[in-house]
Subunit: 373 residues, 4 copies
């Protein structure tokens, strides 16, 4: 089967579902069964791929902050997850085991990583080439069954074939790594990096990836700001040139000192903390940009006149990853070894030890935590 | 039926084919039956839409230069059209009359215009957001049955719902109008137009559209270069500020004279004539760009050192239209009346008078020629 | 005297100061003499142009909101104007009457408009090509003597030779018109306009210009939001498609209603009112940009998570004008008649009637107010 | 003396010429005295800096291909050098020893590298922010006395203060290194590099720098094409992933083989050989760009239809360096060690051994050749 344009009737054999070997009837899945804290690892039927869909056997799935919200069932989760039971987990990689009709590209046996944003293709943002901010997005592991399971079903076009040089557990973190790549390149892209001091505010896994990506893409100087000593150590391993512990020094002053008073041309906000966002604007150089990925849970008060308007600065909202330009960028960065994510992957658990995994996630002394079936 | 993301199995009812009223069994279609000059209007079965496809009842179809190549069966056509019989025609608009399974957006009754480039969605250009230069393109009316017929089948995503303010015959020319829009905006886009003299080299229909679009998008000055007096008159109607007949004045000198010797910041090459392309480089200002849409049939010798490198000029190849940003731009330009294409649509024929239509096309004394069933 | 590169010693005759006819010894100037409300029109010596400077005889000067701040001596003025006496006024046009040494381009007799931002040329933003956000800016009429006078001195490179098609009083408003041009084009420039609904929040003179520029540069739809009925009427004259009086309808709902619920791709904030800025974010489409020119005098609280980050919106600070790309854009827009600013120029006074002029400015029933010597 | 805006009269003390210690009356200079092959090292007066100029004591000057043309007096040189005697050499670095009036930024003792393109600041490209393609350029060492001497005079704004981490001989190659940086980033800049195979056609010094810069800025893969074995070895040292000797394998096939048949997204043409330029277009991927820096001496015949238009490729002329964004980029690349140019600097001579130096340059077995006084 070659790469065929979609939907040209005369040239397309009607594909039946094809699979590589016999599939089991049931599987384990970590599910939110009731709208309350916790999750259950239960046995459910293996789903079947519909038209344009593939069935993936999970090889590795990593835990996102969002998964922790769902697990602990905080206010955000209660407002967002409207339909249970649902299998959660959206950072996932594995082998295609069966394909539905109208699948023309992927074959059973392909090793893929999941893009969890399922888009309509017809709304104005989709038609403008910005499908990751589709007006009708459905999110894997939130709006439909996700990847903390033995198998999952995904639209073919959301399954990215992984470069063979990238190992499975690294493949499972394309989603957050893609957040970081998209954030780093979200201004005018990499060109400005070469003349920029890049500040990363908050060094959770995505912040740590952003440090490594900024370093690899040629930033003039990378400054990591993070109060957690364990994470600040990881930032150093990822290539940060300057480490700032905001408990020990005032971060705005630290950045100005490191830039001869000019400020940073690029600030990547990964903390979601209002006070930190305000500080981010104050450390920006004239003409600089601050990309916002961290999600504040309250209103953020900013001094727009002096910190944004007179500086002609830009505040750039960032969500998801560009479909699929960011995936092409990730392939280079991960497959060539330009960014080594090994230091960030700190823990690995079997799926049935999920409770320990979530505990480690909540501890603050972890990078990425990987689950394997 | 709402706008649903593609391929999320649990949330999607399995659509059967739906149609608005009973469809006839057969229809007329203008077909290239043998690999030789001419075409036949014959009766064939009405096609049925497959998965992800729609059936369109043609309301208007316009003739492209490519169709004339196919009709007269020149060298290009002989090398390109490998499979006959095939219905040709790709500039087409009409009503959706039936939809196949997996169609989630368009409903019978929708009025649509055809994007004739059917793309795979998986090759590197597609994944980079540049589907119009897909490595596996199939072209409507060339690689599969086109629109000089009562009905045609098209992938849903290639059917653009037309703004209600746009009349059917204008809807049928989205394809060439889109070539012009894409060419005009192919450099850094419209921003540079406001500080640019725009030269349009060759005023066939696409060149004429380009004159009108450049005028509407705020070009400092629009210069039309065209030896055919009839077309030069149309260029004036479309808003050209300066008309140059290269039989009467040397075009490079004329452009330099009209720009105080600085040259034109934007040159849009629509002729495909090697000598004209060379002239285009010579009339370019420092830092200018020449967008190339016309297709030369032989090698083109250029003075790269003085006309491109020392000027830091750009030569930009242009083909098709951006999917689907150009369509959004067209909607504004056509629906708001910013560009009035009426002067360019010079002839209309019923489908059965196709021979006269192709004669007019070949005469040089026509703009767009429209066929209606 | 031709256009010579600056500073190549061997090729440059040492220019003495040259002037066109004899200059008077003294002139009138409207000056802030003491750090308190009001201003005095007094007789002072005509300044002499230094190296690289020109002496301009004022033909027309218009009053900016900043001038009103200085005149009424509000908190901002008290904090900003550190040195008196100073002649104020920075929106000014007139004839070059004398040139200092090292002036190689302008000749006495040239008609010029003033770019009031005097830049150093050596700081990082200047070296990056963004001189309008120079770290060492000096502002005409604020940091050194301005244009509410018979003559002023300006660096040659800050004197823009005005296209002959532009009349003197229009020439005097290049400064605020340039703010508007720069704001309209401050995202990805004009390309996005063609697919955008543009909302202008606040229709003072710059907002009114922005309406006209957006209309001329091909916006899909222009919506003006303004509580002052007089100004809303001017917005209609400048080409607004939709008028919204926020006293009568909720502006966010009005914009959503006018855009089928998608929101506006471009919002231009000209009011500086915190509540309006917040509304601006709520009416933004996914992927949209809000350009901020109005200057809030207090902190602004924003819902970054839902209105900026998940939408992947951009907030773009805007100040001044690009040196000198914006001036090239203005030349097209004003000289070709694409934007007619006549409706916005509502009042004209002789310089000695400055008190009436400032009263009209403060009344809210004026557009631009022009002073002529 | 601080960084003061240029030309604000009231705030500027009138600077007399200042120097650091006593200067000699005469100096040695390598001059083209007659319009014929060769050059003479003769004693001439030390020049004095005029207004806005600085006097630089040369620490290192490197030989450019252009200097070899001037030295051997080929056809290009005979047509270009209209005024003799002239000191040549334009790749030069040294210490500021004296400054003229109107110099507000640099002080005696500063270590600077020369930007040899002296621009007018008033023509349309200059006003557009593209001074390096000024319509009135004067070139150091071509149009006025250059740097193969003990001292030279330069406009202050053309003297770039060198980061202290960069050694003098590296400082002297900013000019060609800047050509390479500007070429690498001449498309959409560095963003596209991360998803691109970059091919460098021709590995003279600028090509070798381009290999290193592409590698440092994150290219997916760098392919060097060069028939000279010595230079191909240097390309490997600079970080090329694939080496192609066109005498041994067909370069278009080699590039297609290394890119799974897709072609290279970025081709950097450094050879100026017509056949190689044609090959460059044939190895371009769809949507790719070829930047042209090498200067062909005859017309170049290209297959625009298949290799540029249908691929929607871009051919981008490149000359000089962006003033001064490229210098900011160079500072990062050279000062942080991201690019190590040491392998390219192969020879060093005292100025009086200039004949040997030019012989080595002509031999093909050299990278950069440095002259020191």
């Amino acid at each position: 089967m070659g790469r065929e344009p979609h939907g040209v009737r005369n040239h397309r054999p009607r594909d039946a579902e094809r699979s590589s070997g016999r599939l089991p009837d049931t599987m384990r899945a970590l599910r939110k069964v009731r709208q309350e804290p916790g999750a259950e690892l239960i046995e459910i039927r293996v789903p079947r791929p519909g038209a344009g869909e593939v069935l993936i056997e999970v090889e590795a799935a990593s835990i996102c902050g969002t998964d922790l919200h769902i697990y602990t069932w905080d206010q955000w989760a209660a407002g967002r997850i409207t339909q249970v039971p649902v299998t959660f987990g959206h950072e996932v990689a594995g082998y295609v085991r069966a394909v539905g009709s109208e699948v023309h590209h992927l074959r059973p046996g392909a090793f893929v990583s999941a893009e969890g944003h399922v888009f309509c293709g017809f709304c104005p943002p989709c038609r403008r080439g910005r499908a990751h901010i589709c007006e009708n997005l459905k999110i894997l592991g939130v709006d439909f069954d996700g990847g903390f399971a033995d198998y999952l079903v995904l639209p073919e076009r959301n399954a990215w074939e992984v470069d063979k040089r990238i190992p499975p557990e690294v493949a499972s973190i394309h989603d957050p790594f893609g957040n970081a790549v998209h954030t780093v390149f979200s201004g005018d892209g990499a060109s400005e990096l070469v003349t920029s001091t890049v500040v990363v505010l908050g060094c959770g896994p995505i912040g740590l990836f952003a440090v490594g990506i900024s370093r690899a893409a040629g930033a003039r100087q990378v400054i990591a700001v993070e109060p957690n000593e364990f994470r600040l150590g990881l930032a150093k391993q990822m290539g940060a040139d300057v480490l700032v512990d905001p408990g020990k020094e005032e971060p705005v002053e630290a950045v100005l000192a490191a830039t001869d008073g000019h400020g940073a041309e690029v600030v990547l906000e990964m903390s979601g903390v209002p006070k930190v966002i305000d500080q981010g604007t104050r450390m920006l150089a004239r003409g600089g940009r601050m990309s916002l990925l961290g999600l504040p849970t309250e209103l953020v008060a900013l001094d727009l006149t002096d910190q944004v308007i007179f500086k002609e600065a830009r505040l750039v909202g960032v969500t998801g990853r560009e479909l699929f330009r960011t995936w092409q960028q990730m392939t280079t960065l991960l497959a060539t070894g330009m960014v080594d994510v090994a230091p960030v992957i700190t823990h690995r658990f079997r799926l049935n030890r999920f409770e320990e995994a979530f505990e480690v996630m909540a501890s603050g002394r972890s990078g990425k935590v990987i689950l394997t079936p």
